[in-house]
């Protein structure tokens, strides 16, 4: 086997050194009746070229070359080439968790920079080294407030990503934590009254998302005021990290649970992504996940180490803040490099382009369907209600190698024929125009002409 660095002679010599005659002796501890006498039923040993061909083939069967107008928690942004050049270096790719600081300073310093940038972008004081993804980060953030508040019930916004809600339900219900849902209003944002009504003295926290699942930006300040008034904590989930370039972060939150996939992480059919939790300094000891801190060596030289490990499972076992061990380090490095490339000015300009593409698209769709929650501020997603079933519309788009918006029936039956569309800096005007034309085509109105709309039209 080409990965194994041993010749038959090496194996012979080693067995001899151990004082064994056959390899079977090594497995003597395993009761004979359980030993497998047959070959495993897995593919035969393949040449590297066959493996590459196999996955190229799967790739061709997987929508290769389709344009997509999907968002909903996974966003398509341009990934600067240097991200892969750098994370492919064996020293990053094939290193373990940096427990041995003296030979892990590269990983440690980069995580320290990651934590710093996440703080700068979220307006929080501390951020951890990463969580599995945005959904588990949200659930863990909620658990954190339960520990901090000593209360056990949780209120979750219906405008939070439905799958995040499902994950929270999985985490919470099995720990007997009552969950209630706060609906959204005409404006596609949390219904404040309804939310306030559902808060009780047992409410540990309210969990919302902003920009929320509909792309609408929540009035975090107002929500925070109500939540805090009742002595509960506010957890804000951010699924579209690029929004932080132009949208004011939820500084009033007590904990922010983020999905950083937008920052240079490939869509990858759903994973691996990069969750992260940020909060206030005073809450850090209840924070789950790894943390890197600055310190000095014997000569007083600056260095970095994993710290506050007493929160973690390998020290505290059943008393740990979480069971998380392996996290998403290499993905966090992608995120780190992405944030470094765009930086202070680039992130804002990038976010602006997302905003412009989305404003244009929404204006175009508005001509042939109803754009819901149109009055509320939004980032790069919008909901369009059509007469026709969006599934039918999407089938038409697929014919043109375009993947249409996400039909919301599945998650929000009450929204009927609504679909969630997304535009990023990578969405071309022509893809938008084609999609709009195809939507229109079925709504009775004549298909759009390809001529460019005037700026006035768009501004409308």
């Amino acid at each position: 086997m080409r990965y194994l660095p041993k010749s038959p002679a090496d194996r012979e010599a080693m067995l001899k050194a151990i004082g064994m005659r056959t390899v079977d002796e090594l497995f003597a501890p395993i009761p004979a009746e359980y030993r497998l006498s047959r070959d495993l039923q897995v593919p035969h040993q393949m040449a590297e070229s066959e493996i590459v061909d196999y996955f190229r083939q799967r790739s061709r069967e997987n929508g290769e070359g389709y344009a997509s107008l999907l968002g909903a928690g996974a966003y398509s942004h341009y990934r600067p080439v240097i991200i892969d050049s750098l994370i492919s270096r064996g020293e990053f790719l094939t290193a373990y968790t940096p427990y041995q600081a003296e030979i892990s300073q590269g990983t440690l310093q980069s995580i320290f920079e990651f934590q710093t940038m996440i703080c700068e972008l979220t307006g929080m004081e501390v951020a951890n080294a990463s969580m599995y993804d945005g959904s588990t980060a949200a659930a863990e953030a909620v658990m954190m407030t339960v520990r901090l508040s000593g209360r056990r019930s949780v209120i979750v916004a219906q405008s939070l990503h439905p799958e995040y809600r499902e994950v929270l339900a999985t985490y919470a219900t099995h720990q007997g934590m009552p969950l209630s849902v706060a609906g959204f209003g005409e404006d596609g944002r949390v219904n404040l009254k309804e939310m306030e009504r559902s808060i009780t003295p047992e409410t540990a926290c309210v969990l919302i998302q902003s920009p929320n699942f509909f792309g609408t930006i929540e009035d975090v300040a107002a929500i925070a005021e109500i939540v805090h008034k009742h002595g509960a904590m506010l957890v804000v989930s951010i699924a579209e990290a690029v929004s932080l370039g132009i949208v004011e972060p939820p500084r009033e939150a007590d904990v922010i649970a983020m999905e950083a996939q937008s920052f240079g992480v490939p869509l990858g059919f759903g994973g691996p992504y990069c969750g992260v939790i940020a909060t206030r300094e005073k809450f850090v000891r209840q924070m789950p996940g790894r943390l890197v801190g600055q310190t000095v060596d014997k000569q007083g030289k600056r260095g970095f180490v994993l710290t506050l490990a007493t929160r973690e499972q390998h020290i505290r076992r059943e008393k740990a803040t979480s069971n998380i061990c392996t996290n998403q380090a290499l993905v966090a490095l992608m995120v780190n490099i992405f944030m470094t490339v765009y930086g202070k000015v680039g992130l804002k300009e990038l976010a602006k382009q997302n905003l412009a593409k989305t404003a244009y698209a929404a204006a175009q769709f508005a001509k042939h369907g109803k754009v819901l929650f149109a009055a509320s501020p939004r980032f790069n997603e919008f909901v369009v209600e059509t007469k026709e079933d969006p599934l039918a519309i999407n089938n038409r788009l697929l014919g043109h190698k375009i993947v249409g918006g996400l039909p919301l029936k599945k998650f929000y039956p009450e929204l009927g024929n609504a679909a969630l569309w997304c535009c990023t800096e990578l969405t071309t005007r022509s893809a938008i125009d084609t999609a709009v034309a195809l939507v229109a085509g079925a709504d009775g109105s004549e298909p759009l002409t390809k001529e460019e709309p005037t700026v006035e039209e768009v501004a409308r």
């Binding site: 590459v52 069967e61 996974a74 290193a95 968790t97 030979i103 892990s104 590269g106 060596d297």
Partner: protein, 497 residues
Amino acid sequence: MKHPTRKATTHVNQNEGLIFEKSSAGKAAWKLPPLDVPEVDTSKLLGSSERKDLGNMPEVSEIEIIRHFTRLSTWNYAIDLGMYPLGSCTMKYNPRVNEAVARVEGLANRHPYQPEKISQGALQILKTLSECLIDITGMDAITLQPAAGAHGEMTGLLMVRAYHHAQGRPRKKILIPDSAHGTNPATAAMVDYAVENLKSDSRGMVDIGALEAQMNEDVAALMLTNPNTLGVFEQQIHKIADILHAKGGLLYMDGANMNALVGKVRPGDFGVDVMHLNLHKTFSTPHGGGGPGSGPVAIKKILEPFLPKPVLVTKTDGTLGFEYDRPQSVGRVRAFYGNFGMFVRALAYIQANGPDGLRQTTEDAVLNANYIRKGLEGTYDLPYSTPTMHEVVFSDKLQAKKGVRTMDIAKRLIDYGFHPYTTAFPLIVPGALMIEPTESESKEEMDLFIDAMKSIAAEVEEDPQTVLDAPHSTRVSRLDETAAARKPVLRWKPASK
């Protein structure tokens, strides 16, 4: 050093500050294409939600970023540089073809919500990998959703919990051997189970007597690592299963050590009801400095109704798709379908090996561990003489007499050009040296490791201080972790502020 090593030396190495210390207004590593739609008035669109300032985010150029991370990378040790004998971590070779295929356009850049009919390629990968893992473990069904081992543990225990609920008699606790990894008890607590410790016998295996005594209708399951963290195979495994099953309990196996079993024996065949795998260990996906991982959970039929949703199914028209209507499911454990990129890598690894390669891999892994045990027996104390599978655990008993503890020896190994072994556990071995070479080490590399360990043992006798002060060859000497925890500095702040 008194005992020169043939393994490593020192070489000039670049210093590098924090990226923020390189930032200067007006530098940029980005450029956006011209906008093909009209510009917009941000404040008009966002009003009070508009962000004005991005604080201390850096402004640097591309060459500075390349140098920054390239320099940082040279401060790391890695599998690509040498042996990484961390016990329980299975630091094996991460094949480069895995990285190549994971980046193929249609797999790397497709959206999880694109219609299933144009996602058959990805779904086929999920299906094929699932079938492979099911046969490798000897189980009946599997979920690929969990993002890592600990996440898999939680998923598995949630299914155990749901199972007992369905039986109409929920249970209160989980039995966990004192040799277990920290995530086991932490996970039990997360799903609201009480943890009861189970002690090991003199041979480092589950104490059958104790198990019989502690097992009762309150016990939901036993979380067993097999081979356990001593690298010892639980020879009474079937007895253990019987004891549990007799009282309606389930046997959970922590599969972190599957590298000792693949192709040689299947947990499903020796009584395991539910187990997780670490694709980032046994199946060669890179650790990447701490992650990402993937922790599939394989189960027996009885637990199938409780699988997290969605579940991959073959539809009537023969195409693949997800089933969401699973009334008894424990629910989702994460958004989307799991760490897909890791599935691609793990499948590529299985394909590169085939049945014969996987078996040979396991044999080499066990051969290597035994070779190291033989090489260091006598030089270091071996608390349990029970046969070794994929890893061997020594203790620092002999060296402790000179005031040298396992962590000191570990740090000294760095000077000899190796990454240290695991020191944090198993807790049943005070001052543990937990060594797992994996199959990826050549005889040459292991002979160098054995020499290094013997040389350090000699140093402990001749001049322990050298060992206590180690490492001596690194760009930073031992770092003050206590200070770091006492006054945590968890982020950079501009000098001015």
